[in-house]
């Protein structure tokens, strides 16, 4: 009996440790959580980047986001991976290697794309990379690969 209780306590402890360590890991989300993430918040600018480990132009532009994040500490940077959910470990280690863990990291696990792409933005065809800017004033979607300086310019305009 005692053994069992100890075991349970141990498992709970392990889970907790994992939770704490995993705080800045890529979290798997579904559409309702995505909808919450893209909602405007008072006084806040959110930069929400849609990417995937298989998308070359996405990977090319990621350093600009990491750089911009250092410069604009008050801006919230959110990275949403479109990789398949069974690739979560690969996505997680890749994202950390790229320094995305300074922002929020998620993987959207819903392959019925047509049911939610328009919720992110009617201006989005579904091609990636794509980035959504959300502020009190509204939302704007850019379906493009950012090059040096472009991202910072948009952020400055929206602040």
């Amino acid at each position: 009996m005692l053994k069992r209780a100890t075991l349970t306590a141990l498992i709970l402890l392990l889970l907790q440790i994992q939770y704490v360590i995993g705080q800045n890991s890529v979290g798997i989300i579904e559409v309702p959580e995505l909808e919450k993430i893209i909602e405007p918040e008072a006084g806040k600018l959110k930069v929400i980047n849609f990417w995937a480990t298989w998308c070359k132009p996405c990977i090319k532009e990621l350093p600009y986001f990491v750089e911009a994040q250092k410069e604009f500490t008050e801006v919230e940077f959110i990275y949403i991976s479109l990789d398949f959910a069974d690739k979560i470990e690969k996505v997680d280690s890749f994202a950390k290697k790229k320094g995305l863990d300074k922002g929020e990291m998620y993987l959207i696990d819903d392959l019925d794309y047509n049911s939610w792409i328009d919720k992110v933005s009617p201006d989005w065809s579904g091609a990636i990379p794509g980035t959504l800017f959300v502020s009190e004033k509204g939302k704007e979607f850019f379906e493009k690969e950012f090059h040096s300086g472009e991202l910072n310019e948009i952020i400055l305009n929206k602040k």
């Binding site: 995937a52 398949f84 019925d112 794309y113 047509n114 065809s125 579904g126 493009k144």
Partner: protein
Amino acid sequence: MKNVLMIFLSIVFLFAFTADKKGYTIGDTARDFSLKNVNGEMISLEDFEDAKGYIVIFTCNTCPYSVLYEDRIIELQKEYAKKNFPVIAINPNDDKKSPGDSFDEMKVRAKEKMFNFPYVYDETQEVTKDYGATNTPHVYVLDADRTVKYIGAIDNNTKSAEDADKKYVEDAVNALLAGEEVPVEKTKAIGCTIKWAF
């Protein structure tokens, strides 16, 4: 003078706006083309005599989401070519931006996968621009008169054909073959951007 200027500005604005929203929408008549197939032949829609329609798919070698759909594109051709509703796959990517999508690489991929459909190269990207394709894979289902009847994804599960419970292209083609309205005319899907030449 002020009025003339206003009219002029309106026209400029109108053009700027139209240019931004280019590409076909449902009901438009799609253009024909003459593009080089991997076997060296030039392919046009008008070559398909007695065609009841066309499944035009913008796809490429290098996009993982296109690759995931290759077997399904082969299946579409198997099913519908015999019903005079052929698949024509168009690679829209600039080969300087994406060397893996060069004409030579297309030939390699077509042979490896034994493509049973024409796989043509839109070298100038003009056809892609006129259609308004934005990503790969991106499908346009046309009827016999080249009227655009469906634009979008092949189905609603990129990862696995078995798990897709909405087969948009099949549903559209079946409806057209039966003389019925296409149930879902437009969908969106995650895909790769088209690699435009500068």
